[in-house]
């Protein structure tokens, strides 16, 4: 696997606030990444830095082996779909697609128009007259049909319903299978995308919290349920991420893989063990309650 993005001790400060602090990671060719984290964690700033839309305060970025700033060789190979992309007010859906065709060397016109049909977009309608969901669909179509070697989707589906999102996942996987490329998905809907991700980068408070294969993360934590005293004796000496009690019952979320000794101990104590989903893990690690972005999307 060759590395296409190399970020080294990247820092972006605004006055005295560090939006991104000392973040290092690499992106490999032809993998699907999840860039996860809470609102304001610094994900979007990192994506803007990668795509040379802002300058870092410190650190180094190499994309396709070069610095991305004002570098057409690099930028023509990147497609960045933003949450709130602005379009010229006179543009209709068709104009956006035609401009995109000129921007991306690997643009597939036929694929783009088949997606327009899938998402039932009115080609002649002005972008300013589109609903929120339709605007998101235009972004998704540009992102997919660009076939850019580095395609970044930042919260691509505001206003899209479950059916349209599922359609996005289907088309993404189908097309990725035939035309592998590096895809970065930044999203709050972790449960929906977790199975599509090969690698997860978790950002919290501007810092890199996790940089791991998705499969490794699946075994990173587990929950144990049972009578409080037994759960506590099980949890003793283990790293507990969360604890909840109700009546005589306690649930603890334990960080770390459950070894066979742990399983035996839980079984002997009569405790139930359950795996923690990626979404739950992210919620536990980044502290506090899950976000309510979804509510905003509707």
């Amino acid at each position: 696997m060759s590395t296409i993005v190399k970020v080294d001790r990247l820092t972006k400060s605004y006055k005295d606030i560090d939006a991104v602090k000392d973040v290092s990671f690499t992106l490999e060719e032809n993998k699907i990444y999840g860039m996860l984290g809470r609102n304001g964690a610094g994900k979007t700033t990192i994506m803007h830095l990668l795509t040379a839309q802002i300058f870092p305060t410190g650190g180094d970025i190499q994309v396709f082996g070069e610095a991305p700033y004002e570098n057409d060789r690099v930028l023509s190979r990147i497609c960045f779909i933003k949450e709130s992309q602005k379009y010229p007010t006179t543009f209709a859906v068709r104009d956006v697609l035609e401009v995109a065709a000129g921007l991306f060397p690997k643009w597939d016109r036929e694929f783009a128009y088949s997606l327009v049909e899938d998402f039932r977009l009115p080609l002649k309608r002005k972008m300013t007259k589109l609903s929120r969901g339709m605007l998101s669909a235009v972004g998704i179509i540009v992102g997919l049909a660009s076939r850019a070697p580095l395609t970044i989707f930042d919260e691509p589906y505001l206003g899209l319903d479950a059916v349209a999102r599922s359609l996005f996942y289907d088309r993404l996987l189908e097309d990725y299978a035939e035309h592998p490329r590096t895809i970065v998905l930044s999203t709050h809907l972790i449960d929906e995308v977790s199975r599509m991700l090969e690698h997860v980068i978790l950002i919290d408070g501007g810092k890199l919290l996790l940089d791991e294969e998705a499969e490794q993360l699946q075994g990173r934590a587990y929950t144990v349920v049972g009578s409080s005293s037994k759960v506590e004796s099980f949890a003793a000496g283990k790293r507990v991420l969360a604890r909840e009690s109700m009546g005589g019952l306690t649930t603890v979320t334990v960080m770390g893989g459950a070894g066979s000794d742990d399983r035996k101990q839980a079984l002997t104590l009569g405790l139930e063990m359950a795996p923690v989903t990626l979404q739950q893990l992210v919620v536990h690690l980044t502290g506090g309650k899950p976000e309510h972005k979804e509510a905003k999307a509707q």
């Binding site: 599922s166 996942y169 289907d170 189908e174 299978a177 977790s194 199975r195 090969e198």
Partner: protein
């Protein structure tokens, strides 16, 4: 779309996804939906069907290749090896003892069910099939 949603429900988060993919293929072989020497869907077809990463699907398929349950025909695809059904059945019977019998006996003890009552329950279960 409705079908697709059902399919993704078939995969859960309790165990690594690649293992579940391997198990689904094993089940298809055991239950005769995939005959020996017949072609198995491609990795990409599995990925699209279950909405999972193709690398994950490939890992599940490759696990079965390593065990000799599936084999590759170059340029054509993946096939079910001869004799794989019998081998899978053998493995599964051992797992059955571990997963079901041992657990059942332990639970029966907890509930104060005697060995005799337990065998009677098994016979009752058989009759109701």
């Amino acid at each position: 779309m409705v079908v697709k949603q059902k399919m993704s429900v078939l995969i859960d988060d309790s165990r690594p996804i690649f293992m579940q993919i391997a198990e689904r293929i094993e089940n298809d072989i055991i239950e005769g939906r995939l005959a020996e020497e017949s072609q198995v869907p491609s990795t990409n077809q599995f990925a699209a069907f279950y909405q999972i990463n193709p690398a994950t699907a490939a890992k599940g398929v490759n696990q079965l290749v390593d065990q000799g349950i599936l084999y590759k025909k170059r340029g054509i695809g993946m096939f079910v090896a001869e004799g794989s059904r019998a081998r899978l059945l053998e493995n599964r019977k051992e797992q059955f003892y571990e997963q079901y019998v041992v657990t059942m006996v332990r639970e029966a003890e907890k509930l104060g069910i005697t060995a005799e009552q337990l065998s009677e329950m098994i016979r009752r279960g058989e009759r109701s099939q």
